[in-house]
């Protein structure tokens, strides 16, 4: 049976990620590029991941998928899917989860499909890799999926090559591909960045609808805070390889905690206008090689004080649903080191 309708009601945390650290192995000392990432994705919910280019969003998702580039390694951390620890699984067991339990939509729709194979064949391959069905059945499934993602003339498109389709259509095919085996977790890495505004809206709408139908959890990586506001339940904000703030989506927009998040929000004139790139905050992200002690955002932070430059802030709980990696939320530090208090 292809469309197993055994989607349990969303209960508990589907994905629990703890303390991920990704590094470039070097002779002397490994260079850490993603550091201490922790988050959870409840079943059936959407987690948004935002952050400037190079903040480690894609590497984090590749780590969860278990397909880091060869030159990088997972230095430490734990990834649990439905309670099962993934980091210690054999490569073969890990591989079997990909495309079945977890699927990914990549950043570039134009190059994510193999140019040498018809789109139908690429979906058929996905289906048959995980389900014991005939070629004909898998092809039926491919057409069904293409229809599901709103591709007109699916019976014909199934035999098209990727280059015969527009960017929006290719991204729909990618979604159809990713969802073909009804994964419980979908990771979408900027699924709409390359597409024009109306198509963007359609694709996001589609993902929400399919989420409701299939009951899956989504990690949505994006540059676009408007997209976050519309589609996510929870958000983590990444900066220079770390999570600097986490919150429920309403709270993040109503009451951003971290100065970086505030900077991001302030520089968009209106949440509803679509932006392709995160608004710019003066200064640049430190490179992994140049990161020393102290808060990584200190050099760009309008509210930084001396203490911030010498001491790395831990993640500080602000309330039940939000936390920020910022000394401003440690009352003791503020009392002892903040110029407003110490000057008095």
């Amino acid at each position: 049976m292809l469309l197993s309708s055994s989607n349990q009601a969303p209960t508990g945390d589907l994905l629990v990620v703890e303390n991920l650290e990704v590094a470039i192995p070097e002779e002397k000392r490994d260079v850490t590029i993603v550091n201490g990432i922790s988050f959870t994705v409840p079943a059936g919910r959407t987690l948004g991941v935002v952050g400037e280019s190079g903040s480690g969003k894609s590497l984090t998702s590749l780590t969860v998928m278990g397909q880091l580039p060869k030159n990088l390694k997972l230095a430490s951390g734990s990834i649990r899917l439905n309670g099962e620890e993934l980091t210690t699984l054999s490569t073969d067991r890990r591989r079997r989860l990909r495309g079945k339990e977890m699927a990914m939509i990549f950043q570039e729709p134009m190059t994510s499909l193999n140019p040498s194979y018809r789109v139908g064949a690429q979906i058929v391959e996905m289906v048959r890799n995980h389900q014991d069905v005939s070629r004909a059945e898998a092809r039926k499934r491919a057409i069904e999926m293409l229809k599901l993602v709103g591709i007109p003339r699916a019976e014909e498109v199934v035999d098209d090559y990727p280059h015969q389709l527009s960017g929006g259509m290719r991204q729909r095919v990618m979604i159809a591909l990713a969802l073909a085996n009804e994964p419980t977790l979908l990771i979408a890495d900027e699924p709409t960045t390359a597409l024009d505004v109306t198509i963007q809206a359609q694709i996001l709408e589609l993902m929400k609808r399919l989420q409701a139908e299939l009951g899956m959890s989504i990690i949505l990586i994006t540059h676009d805070l408007g997209v976050v506001a519309e589609t996510c339940d929870d958000v983590v904000v990444m900066y220079a390889g770390e999570i600097v703030e986490r919150a429920r989506v309403e709270e993040l927009f109503a009451e951003p905690k971290h100065p970086y998040t505030r900077g991001l929000l302030e520089s968009i004139p209106d949440i509803d206008t679509e932006v392709d790139v995160l608004p710019s905050i003066p200064g640049t992200v430190p490179t992994p090689q140049s990161m020393g002690t102290g808060c990584r955002f200190a050099s760009r932070c309008p509210q930084a004080f001396d203490y911030c430059r010498e001491n790395t802030p831990p993640e500080i709980r602000v309330n039940d649903t939000s936390a920020a990696k910022c000394w401003l939320y440690d009352p003791e530090v503020v009392a002892q080191h903040h110029p407003e208090h110490t000057a008095a």
Partner: protein, 310 residues
Amino acid sequence: MAKFILRRLFHAVIVVFVISLLIFFSIRLTGDPVAVMFAAGEPSQQAIDNLTAELGLDQPIWVQYGIFLRDLITFDLGTSFRTGQSVSSMVAATIGPTTLLAAAGMAVAILIAFPVGIVSAVKRGTVLDFGGRMFSLIGISFPNFWLGIMLILIFAVMLGWFPASGYGTPQHFVLPAITLGLILSGILSRLVRSSMLEVLNQQYIATAHSKGLRSWVVIFRHGLRNALIPTVTFMGVQFGGLLAGTVIIEQVFSWPGLGRMIIDAINARDYPVVQGGVIVLALITVAVNLLVDLSYSILNPRIKAGGSDS
């Protein structure tokens, strides 16, 4: 598609025409064939004049060329000055051994170059990659004839495993095919490696991994399939080089092929045989390139053969 083939045929005609010009005039720079034919005795002027007229060499050179072209159009390659045999039948007798040698050399090259290139790319930066790249480098820098002579020394003279020269049995193929194949696999494995490296970096390879496919499926079905496109093109371009290689190897191994026939004919100033042999080589090269272009458009669905101009 038909338009594409027609245009290619037109190109082929031009190429063959230019080559006919080049070979016709350059062979005449080697000297007078009549002098060679009488090298032994003291011919009378009358005998020389008779032979010159008989061979048609008394005619003005443009007339000679015109006759050559006219015959060529009717697939008449003329007759050998030396033996009086028709060049067509000489070509027919030698083309088989040459084709077999080229095919065997190519087969050896493919059998070596693909595994070496693929392993090199997949295991990039490891000892295996280093070994593969050393292999390419040595293959590229080795002179054909020298490798041939080394192989003869070791495997024919010292070990006596295979015949050093000649033609007829499968054993005769071993040394020439390996010589040709090794030389060719140097450059081919380097190309396979670089094409694979480029392809394996593509986004669709990450997609293939995200489907949970086994690594070897990703490497072959998604990687190699796309890396074949530049590789096949290259093999087509390189085909002329392969034929040139056979000419030398036929000399080293006394292989009764087209190349040796041409070299012997050059030494004897047997104009029609040289001309006919070279024209046939040109035709083969052009035909192979056409085949490669066609297979290229099959391998790469983005190229519609009719639409591409290059």
